[in-house]
Amino acid sequence: MELLYYPGCSVEYTAKAFDQSARAVCRKLGVELKELDDWNCCGATTYMSVRELVSHGNSARNLALAEKAGHTQMVAVCPACHTVLHKTNYYMEEDPKFSELIRKGLKAAGLDYTGSVLVRHLIDIIVNDIGLDAVRANVVKPLSGLKVAAYHGCMLTRPFGSIDSTERPTIMDRLLEALGAEPVEYPLTAKCCGGMVMNTETEKTVPVVAGLLKCACDRGADCIVVACPLCHMNLDFYQPEANRYLGGDCAMPIVYFTQLAGLAFGLSPEELGFGGELVSTRKLVTQYA
């Protein structure tokens, strides 16, 4: 099966382990991720803060390119990309006047979009389309005894709830169980990591990350599993600040769900982008690779 893939800016560089492991895991599951040609930035949470219509217009260019290439589905790995592209889609569908304006913009660029592309997140494809039975069938090195805090974050499910509960999602727990890992009770699973505000208001957002870190430590997790480049960045990069805030010294590896799936599928740590993080994952990788 071939699936149209929207990588997003973060996974090109800072979160390239996510891109690498997503492609490798999909290949193992019989899915080839085909990159959308010449995609542009979705605008994340930032472009929208300055210009509304243009932001949706930029986002819609990607949908138009996907439609032009004859696709009815496009998969994203970054929850912000997923939510932003999905939001443009949804607003265009919900409001014909809004749709007309966006299409005016697209037409000026020789493009158009009629609303035929469904934007999905990779975890939704893996769990709900490919299915956990197929996942189990590919497990050669079960993650037995690995205690994981499955951290879903915000935009994987909010605001649309198209993948799972907006309050208490479990999709990642279910996937990790199928890989043989043991999800710990993690009540903060859908709480925000601070997002982009971390970059500009670090001292006010570190407490948010500290809470997430402490909860995972207290529950005995060996790692926090994420589905978002920004969650990864905030938990991994700002862990020293979070530890200073807590007065603790918790060294918590932060990994993408695709990296753990890859290990369980018997893929090599190099193929999965391990080693490209700040808090070491070596112990975990040595044990399960």
């Binding site: 800016c9 973060s10 090109e12 560089y13 800072t14 390239k16 010449d38 542009n40 930035c41 605008g43 994340a44 949470t45 930032t46 472009y47 929208m48 803060s49 300055v50 210009r51 509304e52 219509l53 243009v54 217009g57 930029n58 819609a60 260019r61 939510t83 607003y91 809004f98 304006l101 966006i102 005016k104 913009g105 000026a108 660029a109 020789g110 493009l111 915000c154 935009m155 909010r158 605001p159 709830g161 907006t166 309050e167 709480k191 925000c192 601070g194 997002g195 982009m196 505000v197 970059n199 500009t200 208001e201 670090t202 006010k204 957002t205 948010v208 990069f237 080693g275 490209g276 700040l278």
Partner: protein, 209 residues
């Protein structure tokens, strides 16, 4: 937004409280489902759900209270909307289904457009650089984004330098200027210019009311 727009903020409020309320509501009503703002019952679920409300000068609930009292200008001058992480918890919990996150975006845009935003606002500065980079490259190259942001903030840059270097060695930060530029930049420019013209026409119509 052109360079320097934030720095050209006028000293006094450009809009009267009534005008501000009208412009804000016109924009909000234009959002899909935007008219639901009128249904706010001031229950405070949004404020209680917000991960950063304790750092906001006005909590999400107070925004709508301020709007009704004709005090929206105070909110626009505050840090409130710039502390919003866009986590959408308020939006999914609001019993009246008001899209509060969208209101936050609208406040950010109005603040910039009418010069309420503090010209030293770090988040607004970050947003300005982000938009500029996206317009110039089609993608947002994070190294360039952070380096331009850190240029005027040496203390923050120093605090993160060692970790930045490690990321550079891991190949996770492209050298500035080496990031990809998309082929369809011209398409993006045409989309942008067309939609900016539509926004400007809308604004002119609002002004003549």
């Amino acid at each position: 937004m052109p360079r320097g727009e934030l720095a050209k903020t006028p000293p006094a409020d450009r809009l009267s409280p009534d005008e501000l309320k009208r412009v804000f509501l016109d924009d909000v009503y234009a959002l899909p489902g935007g008219e639901r703002i009128d249904l706010c019952i001031q229950c405070g679920t949004c404020s209680a759900s917000c991960p950063t409300a304790s750092y906001m000068e006005y909590s999400p609930r107070e925004i709508i209270a301020a709007l009704r009292a004709g005090l929206l200008g105070r909110v626009l001058h505050s840090n409130t909307q710039w502390m919003c992480t866009s986590c959408y918890t308020c939006t999914v919990r609001c019993p009246q289904e008001i899209k509060i996150t969208d209101l936050m975006y609208e406040l950010k845009r109005l603040g910039i457009k009418y010069g309420y935003t503090d010209k030293h606002s770090r988040a607004a500065e970050m947003a300005r650089i982000f938009v500029d980079l996206t317009n110039r490259r089609g993608r947002n190259q994070e190294t360039e984004l952070m380096m331009r942001y850190y240029m005027t903030r040496p203390a923050a840059a120093m605090a993160n330098a060692a970790r930045g270097l490690k990321m550079l060695l891991q190949g996770r930060l492209p050298l500035p200027g080496t990031g990809k530029t998309i082929k369809g930049l011209d398409e993006m420019r045409k989309i942008r210019e067309t939609l900016e013209r539509i926004e400007a026409e809308k604004l002119a119509k609002e002004g003549s009311k």
